[in-house]
Symmetry: C2
């Protein structure tokens, strides 16, 4: 019973225990909740994790493994265990967790694990393995309480107690008919309060939200968030109840999707593991950098067209980098606000139009404000008011371009069905670089030479 915060002393304690006998290690482990062991687990070496899993009873070992991040390869940990322990652990896992972990393995290893466990469990897991990992089917758990709507109150209560024997939390109860079609949801409160003779049919709430097994997990998360649900039933095309998704799995989905958003908008492949090795990171980031190198050459070719201007006015080189860089920053701001807004809710045409208009205005005002500063610097430092005017206009112009591209490109991508977050700042800054070089060079040529 504690408000919990793992700190260094806990890790040190566990590390020390790992140097000692099994009995001592066991004693230390007993003092932690399995969720706490799972957090400490992330800081350990693979062979240390293996030792702990071997020592823990199967129930607890399965809880720790189910909490492990995919990045730390729970599947490999499992496959390294001896056959008996492994089977015990897999049988203790919730079907959806077991499926997630087993799906990381090769076909023959999957076979090996499933052959070693209870055949009913194996069948359930095999079915779940057929769904895509990032869909409702891949998220759902088949472990749930379903009650035939033809039962009476007392029969239903008995049935619920029987089915809940092996479950920790059951959230919602589901009412199904004789052929397994979902008819409604039931609250335990209504069953308890009902009179004896009442049948489940009269108690179910038929106004419920459900999802099909192939729905994308991001859409499932949106529904659960919008309707404030604790769980949502998953059905097939014939309305047969397949499973349910609980809100704790959705929290993991949200974390995953948010990580992907931040990475994509920063020009990192969404598949990069945050704690992965350097090989992984190079593979994920180098392609974006090479694409950007191509666009950077494009922007730089603008400069080469104005060699004469640069030779006569060498100071322009320093100023144009400032204007291009500021454009990149303003575009990144507009992009972040627009991408996040789109990802939280769809925009109507009018809202999209207003967004672009707003970013145009913001770009103009911020551009003029920074333009005035640059004008003053050119006046005081270079004693050149014409240069100052050219720079003021260039800064304003480039920040307008920044606002427009930062808002328009993600909106267009969304309309054509591409994830707006791939309009990463890397892509957007190509525009602000090109315009940021072109405008000061061209305006300086016109006004000064």
């Amino acid at each position: 019973m504690q408000s919990f915060d793992i700190d260094k002393s806990d890790l040190l304690r566990l590390k020390t225990a790992l140097e000692n006998s099994d009995a001592e290690l066991q004693q230390v482990l007993q003092q932690y909740h399995t969720s706490e062991i799972a957090i400490l687990f992330e800081k350990l070496q693979p062979e240390e994790r293996e030792r702990i899993i071997k020592i823990l009873p199967a129930v607890e070992a399965s809880e720790v493994i189910s909490e492990m991040d995919e990045e730390h390869h729970p599947a490999e940990l499992l496959i390294n265990l001896d056959k008996e322990k492994r089977s015990e652990i897999v049988e203790e896992l919730d079907y959806d967790d077991a499926t997630d972990i087993i799906s990381q393995l090769g076909e023959s290893e999957q076979q090996e694990i499933l052959d070693g466990i209870d055949q009913e469990d194996a069948t359930n897991i095999r079915t779940l393995l057929t769904y895509q990992e990032d869909t409702a089917g891949g998220l759902m758990n088949t472990d749930l309480i379903k009650v035939n709507v033809n039962l009476t109150k007392n029969e239903a209560l008995e049935e619920i107690i029987r089915q809940s024997e092996q479950m920790e939390e059951f959230y919602t109860l589901y009412g199904v008919n004789d052929i397994g079609e979902l008819k409604g949801i039931l609250s335990i409160k209504d069953i308890i309060k009902a009179r004896r003779q009442v049948r489940v049919e009269e108690l179910v709430n038929t106004d419920f939200v459900f999802v099909k097994a192939d729905l994308d997990q991001e859409e499932v998360a949106k529904l659960i968030s919008q309707y404030n649900l604790t769980s949502i039933p998953v059905v097939n095309d014939d309305m047969k109840l397949l499973g349910r998704i609980t809100v704790d799995d959705i929290i993991d989905v949200m974390e995953e999707e948010n990580t992907e958003d931040i990475l994509k908008i920063s020009g990192v492949s969404e598949d990069e593991e945050l704690s992965g090795g350097w090989q992984d990171a190079v593979k994920s980031r180098l392609p974006w950098l090479v694409i950007n190198l191509g666009t950077a050459f494009l922007a730089a070719s603008v400069i080469r067209h104005f060699d004469a201007t640069a030779a006569k006015l060498p100071v322009i080189a320093a100023y144009m980098t400032i204007i291009a860089g500021m454009g990149g920053n303003a575009a990144t701001q507009a992009l972040a606000v627009t991408v996040r807004r789109i990802s939280l809710s769809d925009l109507t045409d009018k809202q999209a139009y207003n967004t672009v208009l707003k970013e145009f205005l913001v770009g103009m005002i911020n551009g003029a404000a920074n333009g005035v500063i640059v004008f003053i610097v050119a006046l005081l430092y270079d004693a050149n008011p014409k240069l100052g005017l050219a720079l003021f206009l260039a800064m304003t112009g480039n920040l307008i371009v920044a606002g427009l591209t930062g808002a328009t490109i993600p909106l267009i991508l969304k309309r054509v069905g591409i994830d707006p977050a791939v309009a990463s700042s890397i892509i957007i800054t190509t525009f602000t670089d090109c315009i940021g070089f072109l405008l000061p060079l061209w305006l300086a040529t016109k006004l000064l030479l």
Copy 2:
């Protein structure tokens, strides 16, 4: 009963109904779940929202208002209603939702609303108003089921049914002693299954996670996510049960925190409303841009030191913008991965060291790869292998700097207690700009002149 997706036709339908009589509008509204009306609400004008709230029965109106985003100002909507309707709606709201909304108003308006409602409700809301909005106390709901641990099974069951009369979902039951101290949590399943004479004391689970009222909401979200909880009790320093936070409120917190992360890393103030006006956006973004303008002058002053080099080798201007820009991109990548990693879990010293080492390696490899491309271009396009060599070295050097700053700065900020996301790409790129200009200019001067 539907897997739900609001589209344009729904909005059009509602907009048309808004042109017509109250009866027709009522009929259209009846076809939507309150969560759906809340989504459509975001696309309407304030006066249209007001009309709908006036027409809806208080129960439904309160559900719609509680679902409204703070950005759409539910408090103003409420204050514009006539007194009677307003009181009805506030009384229907959950205490936590009512508190959130009322806290947006000025003191006299708060008073006016609270004076108009049931005094028990008002007292509860007044207590909640004393907690900071972004703490456990500000998030919690005081509506919960608590059972004295001295009751027998049957007494407890009666008590639960009595208390649950006005609640939709109760998630967890709480066992308290005579003076209101939290003793443990209870599952409805265990109560139903228990024998008659058993007392609650024997049924409560005393191994539970709780939080104090002043804990930051982000920490609450982490606990709920780590322990896979559906709700968490909130206590004061004497372990007296104050309320509980449910997982659906945490989903809103996670969305909020993730929005803040994306905005901050992109150099936007965390307070900017995504759908706010241009004034709001200028206020939130201009300060960052002006700070960056200062640092950009710093970077540009590097260029002015090499006026002689630029005059003799004008092509260097184009190349140095490429190298500085690529550094900015690589730094943004390293920053995004590191910030997201830190925000999901704390790193040990060893993990922090490995992160920096990894980013150094990634910077070197990506730098060398892009450096080779630039070398080849300088060779083919400018027929200048010495320039190519200088550019290769500069690109590699700058991407190493990018990796090191992108990883080190957020790690240092975290250690000194500053939010690592403020190490936004805007700040980090100052380094890569300075080094990105300095390296090619200095190396070209050394190798070529």
